[in-house]
Symmetry: C2
Subunit: 152 residues, 2 copies
């Protein structure tokens, strides 16, 4: 089981030199009955299908070739996002800092993954982490790609 906490990052730390990947993703379908996403991360081209919502979410990810990716990608117009993901170590954890680009420019979100709910609860947020948005649907990538940045 995946336990994550997500935070806004109003004032990012220095990300120069951090391990980073360009991520472009677009949605073929969204919604509770099934979500299908394309993601290009560096040279990897992935298709991910998710079923259900919340804790019982099932997920499968497969690699697809460049030609298939390009053809399917056309159908994601208007449901795409682009971000640069930086990975910062924090003890034995990884903090992923996503810096959004394009229409979502200015948005920076950090995610931390935990092995258990206990560990997640015990986590003391680093001082540069801002408002917690764990579980806030406005900050799901699917929502950001289809509806754009939240009004705040």
């Amino acid at each position: 089981m995946e336990v994550e906490r997500k935070f806004l990052v109003p004032d990012p730390p220095d990300l120069e030199g951090a391990e980073a990947d360009e991520i472009e993703q677009g949605y073929l379908a969204t919604g509770a009955d099934g979500e299908v996403r394309l993601r290009r991360k560096g040279d990897a081209r992935l298709l991910t299908a998710k079923l259900g919502a919340g804790l019982s979410r099932q997920e499968e990810e497969v690699e697809i070739d460049r030609d298939s990716f390009d053809r399917l990608w056309q159908l994601t117009e208007g449901r795409r996002l682009h971000k640069r993901r930086h990975v910062l170590p924090d003890g034995n954890r990884r903090v992923e800092v996503d810096v959004y680009e394009g229409d979502l420019d200015g948005l920076v979100v950090a995610e931390i993954e935990f092995d258990s709910e206990e560990e997640a609860r015990a986590f003391e947020p680093l001082d540069w982490l801002g408002e917690e948005v764990t579980g806030d649907e406005r900050y799901l990538n699917e929502t950001l790609a289809t509806r754009g940045p939240p009004d705040r």
Copy 2:
């Protein structure tokens, strides 16, 4: 543009010896915002994404490998159908006769594809074609896979 007419077949003609394929399909996502379908037809394993509805529907189909297919297929449970598709020649046209199996056993549907709306309108149904169900959402494969046979 694809123009099709669809008919129920209450009393199928002899299908022995007709060109035929086993088709299994399952849905990763359904709905107006995007439909993503897996189909196994003989040895071919395909993923098809459709966007929009009606005449302006965009569609892309790609082949995927067996392992990827099998992993994604798990997520289609409860949204699958199985049919045997027979192709009967009718002059220079092809009539596809789908004989459904499993939960949809007993349902037989014929589809004819035309080059134009004029040609579609001019078509004189063969005498074994029953009630026309063109455009009837209850007979979309997506509906049949998720809701089962129509109450009639």
